[in-house]
Amino acid sequence: MGELRLMKGNEAIAEAAIRSGVDAYYGYPITPQSEILEYLMSEEPYKRTGMVVLQAESEIASVNMVYGAGAGGKKAMTTSSSPGISLMQEGLSYIAGAEIPCLIVNVVRGGPGLGTIQPSQSDYFQTTKGGGHGDYRLIALAPASVQEMSDFVKLGFELAFKYRNPVMLQADGVIGQMMEKVELFDQMPRLTDQEIIAKYPWATTGKPKSRERNIITSLDLEALKQEEFNLHLQRKYKEVTENETRYELVNCEDAEYLLVAYGSSARISLKTVQLAREKGLKVGLVRPITLWPFPSKIISELADKVKGMLCVEMSAGQMIEDVILATLGKTKVLHYGRLGGVIPSPDEVLVALETQIIGGK
């Protein structure tokens, strides 16, 4: 068993980054995730593993620092919260276009604009539908516990390098700030420069005479070549969809009604399922773990068996669009959410389920 600790979600991310053998963290402070940079600065991982930690002048700079290090085949990451992630969208589009593996963490807060520092899930569209320009996708992981904050850092980098694609870990202020028991994985070594050259032949590590120069770019001015590159991306995204779609099902075997929720809302909905079962209601929970690729297939299959689904989100209803697309009208799909940093209680979700789905028309 790994080392047990009581940690904040944000701290778990920072510690997991060090233990994952990350080479560089570049970040800029923003609530509610500044503990990540603070933890790393006080932990001095450059003494533990040689990991670089640098406070950048802006989120624009930090995401571009990730671009530079990632293009060199190094494990690089940044973290921020919603307004900062908005600033990073240009960089994310370039990173996706140049196929640079890296990890970006969004500890989501309420918007739009400066919004609030309280938790929210209103960045689902930004995470899963692009955010930046162009036909690209981020692999998006949604942790629902402090344990997953740690585990998904490791998983995120595995996926990022497997597919040469940026990975977004989309948490929210609840998971970032709450404390839970975490079982930490053991320290992984950082790759040496020689190992990077051997594993990632595309990386800009300096051109030896034995190979052509490596170019990291998202530019091709010839339309047909740019189209071919886009088709290559689409083939990759299809492969990711087929191989990496992750979800969790709770009490779905006999369920007549389903809650669909991710992240903090899934934690809340889990309690709602328990309350509903105590009342004799056959309710289950579908928790998407990957927001992209979205678990459309299983939701479609479950839509054939149930009488309705309630999507619980701390937003005005964003993921629900993907649930509706997956179910194609086969069952009733409605939204329940709180906005602007308000966290719903399990009881109010149960009331919503009973009135909107079970008792509703």
Partner: protein
């Protein structure tokens, strides 16, 4: 024998032999025809940068970063590992790379719109942190790539497609001497302004670039080289006329020479 003229016995074919070679294109440039307009200083700036890497024997350990502007296609011509960056972001990209590869050589190659307008923040902060990189800044006072719009360094009164009646400093601001600004920052080790329009200036500029990479080798911090250059297409002149115009109009405002060396501002 005494009466034979040298010219009579030396044929061109006698001269054009490998053993007589005194100048040829560096192998650090690809064979691709450069996309720059005829007479553009970018080509020379590219070449002398690549020559310096070859002469220092560091080509295999150098990664170049070229962002958006006429410099965007640098990776087509520079035969080393290259990264293309978003507009203005090269100093941040270079920072990210250099921090994880402290023993490699990293340089950015940026234009005036890129470095002194959209990327001012990244430029100032990379310089202020004293990142151990080289910044090569080509200043031609105009946005060449997009068709000759006003740049932060466009001279007062200078006509461009977005200042068709001349740059009015009352409403459009004064031209920005970003090089003098970065010279004031503690992280910059060496700051100089050069040009590449005459053989003598090319040789001086190349020495400056060499010095910049030697500074990086010695881990001294950031070296910043401005190259005042022409944009004959944007300025709507012949290449030869544009260089003359540059001498008469750009140099008085952007005087050539070292501004800072070994972390000390030079009094002139």
């Amino acid at each position: 024998m005494e009466d034979v003229k040298i010219e009579d016995v030396i044929k061109i074919e006698d001269i054009i032999k490998q053993e007589n070679l005194v100048f040829s294109k560096t192998k650090n440039l690809t064979d691709k025809t450069m996309s720059f307009c005829p007479g553009c200083g970018h080509g020379v700036a590219h070449r002398i940068t690549m020559e310096v890497l070859e002469e220092m024997g560091i080509s295999e350990d150098t990664i170049g970063i070229a962002p958006v502007g006429c410099s965007v296609l640098a990776y087509e011509f520079m035969n080393i590992d290259m990264q293309q960056a978003a507009h203005g972001r090269a100093p941040a990209v270079a920072t990210g790379l250099k921090r994880v590869y402290p023993d490699k050589y990293v340089f950015t190659y940026q234009g005036d719109g890129d470095l002194a307008a959209i990327g001012t923040g990244e430029t100032i902060h990379a310089c202020n942190r004293g990142e151990n990189i080289v910044i090569i800044f080509v200043n031609n006072g105009i946005y060449g790539m997009t068709g000759g719009q006003m740049a932060p360094t466009t001279l007062a009164g200078m006509k461009t497609s977005t200042s068709p009646y001349g740059r009015d400093v009352e409403t459009m601001g004064a031209p920005l001497k970003i090089t003098e600004v970065v010279a004031l920052l503690p992280g910059t080790c060496y700051v100089t302004r050069q040009s590449v329009h005459t053989p003598g200036n090319v040789r001086k500029a190349k020495k400056a670039i060499r010095k910049a990479f030697e500074n990086q080798k010695a881990k001294k911090g950031l070296s910043f080289i401005e190259i005042v250059s022409n944009c004959n297409s944007g300025w709507k002149m012949t290449p030869v006329d544009s260089n003359k115009w540059m001498e008469e109009n750009m140099f008085p405002f952007y005087p050539l020479g070292d501004i800072k060396d070994e972390f000390k501002l030079l009094q002139k």
